[in-house]
């Protein structure tokens, strides 16, 4: 403890002998008054607590002192007991603020380390891998590891640790280290995931059971990419399924999912193998993007498309992505020629519709509309109308004629922004039709005929009928709102 006889010497003491936890200040002093000194101290060090001691405890002085940053008041005359009580409280406050500042500094340091680890993966962007990562907090649990396993093989592992706190960041760093170490020792994908599960269950959550803390789990998407054999091994634990898209825009969801690691003992993962064709690419994301898609009422692929496009074009994060409630990570990988950027048809929609849910077609259509508007905000009204009407007719046709009870039809959309071309692909498990289902001029005699296929044929640029109509590839030229010529979008 030290004292000063006036405001000016208090400033000197504060500057040369600090930091101080608490400063008690008289209101009336010979040079500068107590309010001015408190303001000066608050500006110098906001954590230091100041107590104003005054015999003039009127409302105006109290207001000025609050506004200058005082944390307590003492009326003169005061007792030693009151002084001790107030000073103790002020010291506690100061130490709490300092601790908090120290913690925030630690979080920033962890966040910086987290970003450094991600940057090592981001360096792969020139190799055909684009990573969008919008963490919700400075330090969080999403992480991505890309490690070469041989000259032609690479492991890509995108993970989401439960929680968004420092514990999640710590777990994330711990497992990133584990993966890198195991890969260097020649471990295979299954071994890594089984070991994760074991560590989480036996070591991490086992200890947590004793301390009654919340158990941890990790959602993982793992891809083992062999560019020589064009082979792909996929394992998904708790994350949304990754999507493989061919050069012609045809997409499939990869793998059969298992639950997140850290939930149950035993075989942790189901792996699936795929052969990929030239021009293929993969998109994967963590569940923060799925949550955002649900809130926006759009297909997650359309969000993925927008975020990836923004990244490729150096644009900032879209405003609607700011409202995410979770970390967002979206990765796109050019499988074929890693040195080339992603081009061609990119998926916007991929959905399965059950025959029994046909009455929900209006709700589905609204989701398609929102997804297309999100991905192609400047699409003309005419173009959007045509695509939606055709998608509706095609999926209704597939459900009506191609699906038996409990079967489903699939709709997907892919868009090439350079060619401004959009492809719808609709398929069903049926065997197609023996003869065309529509006549060329359906309204000729005001007959009630099957107009759905006629609409599709009339509104699209091109329709390819595959498997006798059980699959249709429907192409559109996408006119933008300001360049749309009058009349049809055909």
């Amino acid at each position: 403890m030290t004292t000063a006889s006036n405001g000016t010497s208090a400033q000197l003491v504060f500057t040369t002998q600090g930091p101080f936890d608490c400063v008690t200040v008289d209101y009336l002093m010979p040079d500068l008054d107590g309010i001015e000194l408190i303001r000066w101290i608050t500006n110098c060090n906001a954590a230091a607590s100041t107590v104003l001691v005054t015999a003039r405890g009127d409302k105006k002085v109290v207001e000025q002192a609050w506004s200058a940053g005082a944390c307590r008041f003492l009326d003169k005359p005061t007792t030693a007991a009151d002084l001790v009580r107030v000073v103790e409280h002020a010291v506690k406050r100061c130490r709490r603020i300092r601790n908090q500042a120290r913690l925030e500094g630690d979080v920033r340091a962890i966040a910086s380390s987290h970003q450094t680890m991600l940057q090592s993966s981001r360096g792969r962007e020139k190799e055909g891998v684009r990573i969008v990562h919008y963490p919700l907090h400075q330090a969080g649990g999403d992480f991505l590891v890309m490690c070469p396993a041989s000259e032609t093989e690479m492991l890509l592992l995108a993970a989401d640790v439960s929680g968004h706190d420092l514990n999640a960041a710590f777990l994330s760093a711990y497992f990133q280290g584990l993966i890198r170490g195991m890969l260097r020792r020649g471990a295979k994908l299954e071994e890594i995931l089984e070991f994760f599960n074991h560590v989480l269950l036996e070591e991490w959550n086992g200890q947590n059971e004793k301390t009654h803390t919340v158990p941890a789990s990790i959602a993982v998407t793992a891809l083992w990419i062999d560019s020589r054999l064009r082979n792909l091994i996929v394992a998904v634990n708790g994350n949304p399924l990754p999507i493989l898209t061919n050069a012609d825009g045809f997409s499939i969801g990869l793998s059969s999912p298992s639950c997140p690691l850290g939930w149950f003992p035993g075989p942790a993962t189901r792996r699936a193998s795929y052969r990929w064709q030239p021009g293929s690419s993969i998109r994967l994301w963590t569940d923060g993007l799925d949550d955002l898609a649900k809130r926006l009422g759009v297909d997650p692929l359309s969000i993925c498309f927008v975020l990836q496009s923004a990244l490729a074009n150096g644009k900032p994060r879209p405003a609607w992505a700011e409202s995410a409630n979770d970390d967002i990570m979206a990765v796109a990988i050019n499988l074929v020629n890693p040195m080339e950027p992603l081009v061609g048809l990119r998926p916007l929609l991929l959905a399965k519709f059950a025959k029994e849910e046909q009455q929900d077609i209006d709700t589905w259509q609204e989701l398609w509309r929102r997804s297309l508007k999100l991905a192609i905000p400047d699409i003309s009204d005419e173009g959007l109308f045509d695509i939606l009407l055709v998608a509706r007719e095609a999926i209704l046709n597939a459900l009506e004629r191609g699906c038996k009870a409990e079967q489903s039809a699939h709709l997907q959309a892919a868009y090439d922004p350079d060619a401004r071309s959009l492809r719808l692909i609709v398929n069903d498990p049926g065997s197609g039709y023996e003869k065309p289902l529509y006549v060329a001029r359906p309204a000729e005699n005001l007959g009630t005929v099957h107009r759905g296929l006629q609409l599709i044929d009339a509104l699209a640029r091109q329709v390819q009928i595959i498997r006798h109509g059980a699959e249709m590839w429907i192409d559109f030229d996408v006119n933008l709102a300001d360049t749309n010529p009058e009349g049809s979008s055909r």
Binding site: Q359, I361, L389, R441, P442, A443, L446, T448, Q454, L455
Partner: protein
């Protein structure tokens, strides 16, 4: 769907999209309209179908429009379709509905 007869015009208005999901209800209303004695006995000579509140018509919706137009055809009356949406204008023209009704885009 609402209707009224004014002078020699049967006016039918649909204030919604004409889609597969709502067309069954519309067909029921159309059947009721066909059986309405006033509609049967009145000497209306023009059928005016007001679709100015409609933004989309799908294939089943088009079949419903065909049924309404047949109502006019049966008594050799004129048919007129009022729309506001340009996309519907395109739709009605390339499906050649305009050969059976005058399409008026407001």
């Amino acid at each position: 769907m609402e209707h009224r007869i004014q002078h020699d015009v049967l006016y039918v208005a649909i204030r919604q999209d004409v889609l597969s999901t709502g067309v069954r209800d519309l067909f029921d209303k159309l059947h009721a309209l066909q059986k309405d004695p006033q509609v049967q006995q009145s000497s209306w000579r023009t059928l005016e179908l007001d679709l100015t509140g409609t933004k989309m018509i799908d294939a089943m919706g088009l079949n419903f429009i065909v049924q309404i137009l047949k109502l006019a055809k049966e008594r050799d009356a004129k048919a007129k379709i009022l729309i506001q949406d340009k996309n519907l204008d395109r739709l009605l023209r390339f499906t050649r509905m305009n050969e059976h009704a005058e399409v008026v885009c407001a």
